[in-house]
Symmetry: C2
Subunit: 98 residues, 2 copies
């Protein structure tokens, strides 16, 4: 059963404007290193609607196990530690059946 993982972040106020671009550059490396990622798209909010979160990631996996492997992968965990962990004011996530 394919699984779609969706996650959104609101950045802390004190981050530089370059943060989103740094996140996108770091995310772009992960599919090369984590073969369980079947599809990976992400980007900053376009500012069309007030009140949105700042950034979204949508990742597809062939099954739950592939998602869990990605979630626990050392390079994904390093990405979180470097670019997410202490930099988000809010986080929202869902995994659903594709």
């Amino acid at each position: 059963m394919p699984v779609r993982h969706v996650v959104m972040f609101t950045w802390n106020d004190d981050l530089p404007d370059s943060h989103a671009a740094e996140v996108s550059a770091a995310l772009a490396e992960l599919p090369h290193a984590i073969p369980e990622i079947a599809s990976y798209v992400f980007g900053p909010d376009l500012g069309i609607v007030d009140g949105n979160f700042d950034y979204a990631v949508v990742a597809d996996f062939d099954d739950r196990d592939a998602f869990v492997t990605y979630r626990n992968h050392p390079l994904h965990q390093r990405f979180i530690a470097n670019h997410i962990a202490d930099k988000v004011a809010a986080r929202a996530a869902v995994q659903f059946e594709l």
Copy 2:
């Protein structure tokens, strides 16, 4: 420029367990009625990870105008009034360039 719209909901505690299925049935009607929707997938959280939101919708559009047409469409607004407006404890959304 294609736009991906992602939205998540956490339902109010007092909703029946059938609510997510009712939402999915109602959402399934919208692409037939709103031709601006290029792709529409949605579903309840799988329960793999603690602390997630309850439900997600991922919708693709050919451009910003198509997204705004969808957002303002009377059938989409009726869906929100019937199934979302007074039924969510939390909502998170992002639109990003696909």
